[in-house]
């Protein structure tokens, strides 16, 4: 056997080895390529991530920038505007700087800052206002009490001394000054939450309004016309509040009409039993804004008015009326024009605050205007005697009470008493009274006619 030659063996071995190596190489290369591709992909995704991270960083920076701008806008523009807005709602509070791009959370957060600040400011303002009111109320109530004592003193002085006229005159003047002062103090006390100061007995409406007018400078210019029954009064608990409200309205009317013009006050009782006290002035009237403000202040449901809202000098009249209206249940309207072009203010007192006063037990004062005669009673002369007897019962009482000479003829404003005054101005009863001559004539004519007719018909029948 021929043994293979050695070189051939070597060659064969080398070939085998080479083949194996080549195989291995090929394998490793494939692996290499795959890994290479994977690395590439990883690199790309890393790059993308980096890019997105960068853009997110930019976004965040931009948002932070915007937020910073919003906050500085809040501090520099919106908060100062809020300050003005809290004083008067006429001043608007601006919105966000970038309304559209801002996120809803940011907007909410920033707006809640404004809400919280205004809450804090309002709470604090109310606290300070309450403290101021308490201080003012204390001072004015003390002062009011002293003024009442001074009033009693002056009243006693007037009754005690009948000396010189000069002295009387000056005491009356001092009394009037004190009364005016009292009105101002009492009004301030009421604005600050105090009660009117004292409770009266049931009081005649006419007396109450006259008494209220006496608290004002220029009370001579107030002309009170009463067209309500003279025994109508206001229950004690509401008497002083109504007097204060009337005094304020009359003070306004006096202030806003010229010095030589009268202020007309009329008292009427309406069909539904309310008593209306109407105060008409001939001033310039109120602007729509002032009227709206007035209506708001005198209504019962807006009683959170603060001292700081009253202006400088504070206008307290309407606020005092508003507080009394809320507490005592009568009604005041100030938004009607008066027939003279000024303002007509009406105090309406519901029947539950009215009382009928026994005129004999509590005679009305001589200083209150007397009720005018109802026009209805004056119109029918034929029924004069009946009406007179019907209305005489209350009038009789008054007559006997007055126990003074009657003198009905000289008094145009009193209720009708003497027949002379009644018939004097009226022509009707003269021919209504039986006249014998006229009756005889009428009856004889009637009889003649009757007889004439009968004889005619008789003759016809006989013919």
């Amino acid at each position: 056997m021929t043994s293979p030659s050695e070189p051939a063996v070597v060659l064969g071995a080398v070939t085998v080895v080479m083949a194996a190596v080549a195989l291995l190489l090929a394998l490793s290369r494939r692996k290499q390529v795959r890994r290479c591709r994977e690395m590439d992909a990883a690199l790309k995704s890393a790059e993308a991530r980096t890019r997105s991270a960068e853009s997110r960083t930019d976004d965040a920076e931009a948002r932070e920038e915007r937020f910073r701008a919003e906050v500085s806008h809040l501090v520099s523009a919106r908060l100062p505007a809020l300050k003005l807005n809290l004083i008067s709602s006429h001043h608007p509070v601006p919105g966000l700087l970038h309304e559209k791009t801002a996120g809803p959370e940011d907007a909410e957060l920033l707006d809640s800052v404004l809400t919280r600040v205004s809450e804090i400011v309002l709470t604090e303002r109310r606290r300070v206002d309450a403290a101021a009111r308490a201080a003012l109320r204390g001072a004015s109530q003390d002062s009011q009490a002293l003024s009442y004592r001074l009033q009693s003193e002056l009243d006693a002085l007037q009754r005690e001394f009948t000396g010189s006229r000069q002295l009387t005159h000056r005491m009356l003047a001092a009394d009037h000054l004190n009364e005016q002062n009292l009105r101002l103090i009492q009004r301030t006390a009421i604005v600050c939450g105090a009660w009117p100061g004292h409770v009266r007995k049931d009081t005649y409406v006419a007396e109450l309004v006259t008494g209220a007018s006496s608290r004002l400078r220029g009370f001579d210019r107030i002309k009170i016309n009463s067209r309500i029954a003279s025994n109508v009064g206001i229950v004690g608990r509401a008497a002083e509040p109504v007097a204060v409200a009337c005094a304020e309205l009359m003070a306004n009317a006096l202030e806003h009409s010229r010095d030589d013009l009268a202020v007309d006050v009329s008292l009427i009782q309406t069909g539904n039993g309310n008593v209306s006290i109407t105060v008409d002035d001939a001033g310039k009237g109120m602007t729509a804004e002032a009227a709206a403000r007035g209506v708001r202040l005198v209504s019962a449901d807006s009683q959170d008015v603060m001292l700081t809202e009253l202006g400088d000098p504070p206008s307290q009249g309407f606020v005092a009326i508003g507080r009394l209206v809320a507490d005592y249940g009568f009604h005041v309207s100030v938004d009607n024009p008066s027939p003279y072009g000024g303002v007509r203010a009406v105090v309406t007192i519901p029947p539950n605050l009215l009382a009928s006063i026994d005129e004999e037990a509590e005679p009305p004062s001589a200083m209150a205007p007397q009720a005018a005669v109802a026009p209805k009673a004056e119109r029918r002369p034929s029924a004069a005697t009946e009406t007179a007897t019907a209305t005489e019962t209350p009038a009789d009482d008054e007559k006997s009470r007055a126990s003074a000479p009657d003198g009905a003829d000289g008094l145009p404003q009193r209720r009708r008493r003497g027949p002379a005054a009644t018939t004097g101005g009226l022509t009707v009863p003269s021919y209504r009274a039986p006249d014998p001559e006229r009756s005889r004539k009428a009856w004889s004519e009637f009889q003649d006619g009757l007889e004439g007719g009968r004889t005619d018909s008789d003759s016809e029948e006989t013919q």
Binding site: D155, R165, Q166, M367, P405, G407
Partner: protein, 125 residues
């Protein structure tokens, strides 16, 4: 006017009206007043009207008027003076004290009449 312990509602100066200097003192508390028949003017207060009403059919003194109206006597006098100066009231002198017969320390009316007749007889003689 005060009613019991009540706070006064109607002050006395309402009766006389505001303003105007006081008139010179002309009337006495016992001066009799009666209405002259002149009508009242627009500036007169309801109290002026009541005063005239009181003295239309007779005469009263200023103090009586004040008492009827529940006013201080001093205010009654002021009212009377105002109305007399306006011509609405007429004042007559108070009844002379001499007419009161039993005034201590004063001559009686009888004595005065005797003096008068004595004087007249002197003049005749």
């Amino acid at each position: 006017m005060s009613r019991g312990h009540q706070r006064r509602l109607l002050p006395a100066y309402l009766a006389t009206g505001a303003g105007g200097a006081p008139l010179p003192t002309t009337l006495d508390t016992l001066t009799a007043l009666r209405a002259s028949g002149l009508p009242l003017a627009a500036y007169h207060t309801p109290v002026h009207r009541r005063v005239v009403e009181l003295v239309t059919d007779g005469s009263l003194t200023a103090v009586e008027i004040a008492a009827y109206l529940g006013l201080p006597a001093s205010v009654g006098l002021m009212l009377a003076e105002q109305l007399v100066s306006d011509g609405v009231l007429r004042a007559s002198v108070p009844v002379p004290d001499a007419l009161a017969p039993s005034r201590a320390g004063r001559p009686s009316m009888q004595l005065m009449e005797e003096v008068l007749s004595g004087l007249q007889s002197l003049r005749v003689a």
